[in-house]
Subunit: 65 residues, 2 copies
């Protein structure tokens, strides 16, 4: 299984948003809907900072004003 | 290895952009840099339509005017 974990990045630290994410889709103008391999869902606002698939990491950062 | 393939989506069809993508990072305001597992790179302009990691698919769509 090639799901990934989603993290917020803040001040060079990573904070887990959700584990075992399968699907990521845009939601509105500034958000994303994350769907896990078990169907669990989470909506977040922010932007993608980077995806590292071999490392199973999706990094998000908050919008800056 | 959990790399994915990147596709353009146009009219419900999928057109391969790049295989075996490891890293995806934002590039400028409207683009993305794709880096493959062998270090090959490609820059594209467009937006993410959806990611389906278990299916190894990253879908992009062109910006609409």
């Amino acid at each position: 299984m090639c799901e990934a974990n989603a993290y917020w990045t803040r001040d060079d630290r990573e904070e887990l948003i959700m584990e075992a994410v399968d699907t990521i889709e845009p939601e509105g103008d500034d958000g994303w809907r994350l769907v896990g391999i078990f169907g669990d869902q989470k909506s977040i606002r922010g932007r993608i900072k980077g995806m590292h698939l071999v490392d199973h990491k999706i990094l998000f950062e908050a919008h800056t004003a």
